[in-house]
């Protein structure tokens, strides 16, 4: 199963000290992602698919898959809500 996802063209972002700073151009609001969120963002950008990104996260981070997926989906919900991904 796949779940396509795209970073909004209204977003400018930059990797800074290994973490990602996002700017939503319409709202002018800046967001900072933590290290795990930053990695998830990079994988979303690379894979353009939520399930593929989650599978790679599970390979990289030695944590319970259920917890990882729950946390990533929570972040994804926030990213969608703020119009940073679609």
């Amino acid at each position: 199963m796949t779940e396509p996802i795209e970073i909004s063209d209204k977003v400018v972002y930059k990797t800074f000290e290994d973490e990602i700073i996002l700017l939503h151009l319409d709202s002018g609001i800046y967001y900072g992602l933590d290290a795990v969120g930053s990695r998830f963002w990079s994988l979303l950008e690379q894979e353009r698919d939520v399930d593929a990104a989650l599978a790679l996260m599970a390979d990289e981070f030695d944590v319970d898959r259920h917890t990882l997926e729950r946390d990533c989906r929570e972040l994804l919900g926030q990213l969608r809500e703020k119009g940073l991904v679609r």
Binding site: V12, K14, F16, I21, L25, G28, Y30, G32
Partner: protein, 285 residues
């Protein structure tokens, strides 16, 4: 036409700016300001020109920040010129600026940033009265040079509310007033000699939800510092996506090169000397 040195730019204007000392220069100006409607040939929708609507005025800029036409009420237009308009000219010319006062301490520039009415001018004026050289009271323009950032001197004047003007200068009523975001007194003493100085530290002014008797200072980590700098990037509300992206790159380099502090300021003006001490102490000067 009078000449001015504003934030490192040689600016020629079609009319004198009240309360700003003229600084004649030889050669061509970096930017010419016309207090006049733009020539009709500057059609709207042409991407060589930017047009910004301001309260009681409108500014039209060429894309390189070399020429500006300001139409509307003259008092409003001059206020905007020394604020959003010069900020946008700086941005068009590739210079980032912070919504910040700036004072020279120990040979370095210390920027004191924050939104309107946060206390920037009040602190700047208090430093000036103490004998420190103030580079700017509202906009700190930063020129990147050889891996460091130079803070550039702005107009030498202080815009203060009546309470602050009275607390620092004894009597607010003897100074002319203008309306910006609020009614402010314009205090324009003769400027001391000033030159660009390397940026040494940035303080972001903040008000505590709880009443405070003492100022509280905490250093931001670098990521927090970058976000705080971005939020205090001057005039960014008018920026194009490309300008905002450029700011993100530039301010990231600022956040890596100087410490950025959160400064919680007590409301009480009696705490000003302690806030100044804290700024001197944490900026290492």
């Amino acid at each position: 036409m009078p000449d001015y040195a504003l934030h490192g730019l040689r600016v020629r204007t079609s009319a004198s700016l009240p309360g700003v000392a003229e600084e004649p220069f030889s050669g061509d100006p970096d930017c010419v300001i016309h207090f006049a409607p733009p020539p009709p040939a500057l059609a709207t929708g042409d991407d060589r020109w930017f047009r910004i609507r301001l309260d009681e005025a409108e500014a039209t800029f060429d894309r390189e920040g070399k020429e500006v036409w300001l139409r509307g009420d003259f008092a409003a237009a001059t206020t905007h010129l020394l604020g959003q308009v010069i900020g946008f000219v700086l941005r068009l010319r590739g210079t980032v600026s912070l919504h910040a006062a700036c004072v020279a301490l120990g040979g370095r520039a210390v920027a004191i940033a924050g939104p309107s009415s946060a206390g920037k001018s009040t602190l700047a004026a208090a430093f000036a009265v103490r004998g420190d050289v103030v580079l700017s009271d509202n906009i700190t323009a930063l020129r990147e040079e050889g891996g460091t950032f130079l803070a550039l001197p702005g107009p030498y004047r202080f815009l203060l509310g009546d309470d602050a003007a009275t607390a620092i200068f004894g009597d607010a009523a003897r100074f002319p007033s203008i309306i910006t975001t609020a009614e402010k007194r314009v205090i324009a003493p003769p400027p001391p000699p000033r030159s660009p100085l390397p940026l040494g530290a940035v303080f972001i002014l903040d008000r505590s939800a709880e009443p405070l008797s003492e100022p509280v200072v905490a250093q931001f980590d670098r990521k927090e510092a970058l976000i705080a700098l971005l939020h205090n990037s001057y005039g960014s509300v008018f920026f194009t996506p490309a300008m905002r992206a450029a700011d993100l790159e530039l301010l990231a380099r600022v956040a890596l090169s100087v410490p950025v502090f959160d400064l919680l300021l007590p409301k009480d003006l009696a705490a000003l000397p302690r806030a100044m001490e804290a700024i001197s102490l944490y900026s290492g000067s």
